[in-house]
Symmetry: C2
Amino acid sequence: MRFELSKDFLEELRLKIESQDLPWIKDQVLELHYADIAEVLDKLSSEEAKFIYFLMDEEVQADVLMELEEEVRDKFLASLSSKEIADQLENLDSDDAADILGELSDEQIQEVISQMEDDEAAEDIVDLLNYDEDTAGGLMQKEFIQAKLDWPVDRCLVELRRQAEDVEKVYTIYVVDDINKLVGVLSLKRLLFASPKTKIIDLYQGKNIISVKTSDDSEQVAKVMEKYGLVSVPVVDLQNKLVGRITLDDVVDIIKEEADKDFQLASGISEKVESNASVWRMSRARLPWLLIGLLGGILGAQVISGFEGSIAKIPALAFFIPLITAMGGNVGVQSSAIVVQSLAKGNNQFGSILSKLSKEARVALLNGLLLASLIYGIASVFENATLGFIVCISLFIVMFFAAIFGTLIPLILDRYKIDPALATGPFVTTLNDVIGLFIYFTVGMFLYDV
Amino acid sequence: MRFELSKDFLEELRLKIESQDLPWIKDQVLELHYADIAEVLDKLSSEEAKFIYFLMDEEVQADVLMELEEEVRDKFLASLSSKEIADQLENLDSDDAADILGELSDEQIQEVISQMEDDEAAEDIVDLLNYDEDTAGGLMQKEFIQAKLDWPVDRCLVELRRQAEDVEKVYTIYVVDDINKLVGVLSLKRLLFASPKTKIIDLYQGKNIISVKTSDDSEQVAKVMEKYGLVSVPVVDLQNKLVGRITLDDVVDIIKEEADKDFQLASGISEKVESNASVWRMSRARLPWLLIGLLGGILGAQVISGFEGSIAKIPALAFFIPLITAMGGNVGVQSSAIVVQSLAKGNNQFGSILSKLSKEARVALLNGLLLASLIYGIASVFENATLGFIVCISLFIVMFFAAIFGTLIPLILDRYKIDPALATGPFVTTLNDVIGLFIYFTVGMFLYDV
């Protein structure tokens, strides 16, 4: 039923492109869903992709263009003239067109815009380019359907038919007053079943209208749409005038990106990096955390060097250094991951810090007890009972403190408006390494000397 | 504009509930958006929440109920009689009602179902209970709007008006043939602008219809809806008969949960655990990774003990153990995080493993060169040039291998259908610890002996 891209299909397609077998291509490729066509083009060479692209209808072209992988799309657009790009833009939604233009140089933008035939569309796009791409203004599209309060249903239908040509997906009609202020919404369903002379003012819903401001940041928009279960949200300016709308499919990408970013931050990668970024960019994104790790390692070396005498006397003390640091790191990351996720869900307002801390501490005590007993047995057999006892006691203490720091650090970062996902990775592990070593050798010195 | 829950508001509300100040509550709470009311109820005691809940209209009750936090909702439902639960279910969408019933014991389910007055609704819910909750069947709702191919538009409108009462949000009308097989879709927009005598068969879109099967798993559903940019997707049975629909807002939760799960797995937490889970459950979810970490630590101890003689001679060798293990771990986690994310996006089909490996290797060589030079300087000053050289060389080798393993392990796990997010955390760090120690001490022995 659903299309599955296979290697065999691609090979056959390449041959058919070479032999210019148009009937086959039309039947096997152009009939597909645009998302599937994009998937196919992603895998072809620029030349092959271009050949197929210009066999498609204009409307399908626009849909396919937006579904291509970013890298493929950039390459593809780079191979087009300004006039060709302008033609493509005319078929796109204004938000998509602005996104594509935003990637070009100011000079190119001017050139492309000047080549556009539809002045109104060009104006919309230019307007959208003014907004920061991480705000509601940068996300919104100018295509939406609006009705005035005093219209009767039949007039509304005529107007909508005119407006709806531009609007691919209609979910909700936005109702505005005389001076274009957003006053409510109206579902297509209600309109469908209303009698022709009923006025919009008697049909629309004007209570609890959820809208976002052009300046709201995109994460805020995602949270609002999620909380209120919206498929589209109207965007208003500072005077509450309706200027655009944002649809959920654009926001799903943000929700995913946000989760991806947290995951990357927690893994020690500081900027949003795609897996196809250049080696230089990837290297730069990772260096800050590696430097923190290096610093931690040097501090750790300093701690251990303070106990050089102990190691010279009892070299076996060194055996369990990796165990202590690894366990401190693991426990810290576990605790902080839970806190980071709970913060990301917005559970920070009333959740008491003390209750979180006490819970993490209890989990750590429980796990610490189990694992410390286990390692006591193993280390005693492995070396001797004293070393076993040292590892056992210090592991228990280290796990406890690791849980405390793992919980506190993201909470503190959040308090100071720093992304707490930072904490899950290098910060927590590095801190726990240093503290863990200190605890281990202190316990070691104390027990061997007693 | 938008409601912001504050501590002051909650305190005032509690007083007003105590004094039964109905006008204030009606004006300040019941007028809010249902998502905001739910946010308020989440913070109240069960008694207080119940008081407000039963002041609301039935329809708002249903909406609020589904917005409550799971824990709050479970507690709330537990305080209701079977009859009261049955009443609440009648106002819910069938998928929500089934979710709520699914939490109860078989006995309770029977009791509640028998108390429901709307037999058709009860039947729908019972039917939905048959599906696994992680499949399209478990996600779908029975409320959707369908039209037959041979209906004219005016007949369609009459039928839709009847059907639409149950369907809160209408996005798309599904078109079926005589025996209820899904043959296409029709947007409300097209219906709105069609003349009354046009037949559906001349209006509907029957090409490239995307549907999911009841048995498709929910991640699959999320991927399909995302790929094809759908706000709702029809669900069909094995005979392609239309049995339900799934809306994007239900799927957004899955997308988020999936990201959360990956994050937790990568942080060494094996089951999906909410931050409000019990200490026992949290402890159990974390133990497997801690045991792997412990095992790694013991293996590490074994490796170091093999070099006991070297440490006895040169205790300073022990100083840089944490640096080597930490850097190996960090680099490994960074590499695997990129691979895990790229796999999660489905980029595994044609992406060549060799190109990923070579890129990660190049990033590691570049970062390794920088950091190894840096540590050479620092360690030489800190101790002596030989030790500096040992740390420098082994750090470089360790970073290189850590990147290779960090890339390969998630790819291998994915090949064997194991969730690659597992790899980002404990697996990679533990493996890199052990290998890193081996490299470090081998280089150390070699250079000190030469």
